[in-house]
Amino acid sequence: MRDRRPGGTRDRILEAARDLFGRDGFDSTTVKQVAARVGLTDAALYHHFKSKHEILEAIWELPMGGGPAQIRPEGKLTAARLREIIDSALEFTIRNVDYTRLILREILDGDETALALRRQNRSVVHFTLYEHFLTAYPPAVSELRAEATLMLFVGSTLKLLMEHGDEFGAAASHEQFRETLHARVEQLAGFADAVAV
């Protein structure tokens, strides 16, 4: 009987595989390494998944918890609300860092599913930002500000991920990093101008 309960063997295999694929790359990771990580023999692992590729397919189905999409606009956008969205996106990235890294590496290796997943996540975050900017700016301006904010977030977090690798979570939680990111986002969003006037 295959153990499909949450937290069961199947889930543990997927989590281990997601970490290893994200860290070392899909091609460089062997089924044996994944199995070893959860204390199984590779024969036992093949009982749950027929191939390494089938594990990857199943990883794409894993739910991603939470995220900034749950923040809805309330009244006119404030600097404080913008911080909240950025913090939420940051928490989301920290929580899903192995998954994110796996998606990005797989996209560069031509995986269509990974590309589609990133596109979907990207448009959800973009839309959340857009909706918020709409409370303060006309549509065309809001769209560009949302895009710019998202691009700054991507640049900032990817750079940190490259520099810190497995220590990303600690680095992204650092006060200095957050303050710098917030200040930059505020300048980009036009809040810094308002303060200076």
Partner: protein, 162 residues
């Protein structure tokens, strides 16, 4: 495959680059941005924006190089990650001083903001467009969009002294 592309035998390539890693490291050359708008223009907001767009253009022209770098950087290859830090220094050398002349105390922060903003645009384009990155980013519509984002990042006036 590399040997075939340049019409050499495998041993000939190994003569120049004993390992693939050495060949890769030799490719990590910092940009020579050539002549830039601010080399002979007064510092002004439009000239700074032109300068930034020209720096970004250098990277757009080399999207395949960027794609290769991104792959290695995501694998936390030390040489490739160090290359990014050096790129930021070369970038800063070309934008920080004019930004400080224009914005005063906010200049340095704005230079850092622009680097991360455009790195984000670049990486996002590579991830979204793959082999078609250079072509997609060169489109007038896309260039206009990037310019618009750069404009958002640079305040219109020098902030009042606190």
């Amino acid at each position: 495959m590399v040997a075939k592309e340049v019409g050499l035998s495998d041993p000939a390539v190994y003569y120049y680059f004993p390992t693939k890693q050495m060949l890769y490291t030799a490719l990590l050359q910092q940009p020579d941005y050539g002549k830039l708008p601010l080399d002979d223009q007064q510092v002004s907001r439009p000239a700074i924006i032109d300068q930034v767009m020209q720096l970004f253009g250098w990277w757009t022209e080399r999207a395949e190089f960027g794609q290769m770098l991104l792959r290695e950087q995501l694998a936390n290859d030390d040489a490739s990650v160090a290359f990014m830090s050096e790129s930021e220094e070369v970038w800063s050398a070309n934008v920080t001083a004019p930004l400080c002349a224009f914005l005063g105390v906010k200049g340095e922060m704005t230079a850092g903001l622009l680097f991360e903003l455009l790195a984000g645009v670049y990486w996002d384009a590579i991830l979204s467009f793959g082999a078609a990155t250079r072509e997609s980013v060169s489109q007038p519509y896309y260039q206009q969009r990037v310019r618009g984002m750069v404009e958002l990042a640079i305040p219109k006036e020098r902030p009042a002294r606190p």
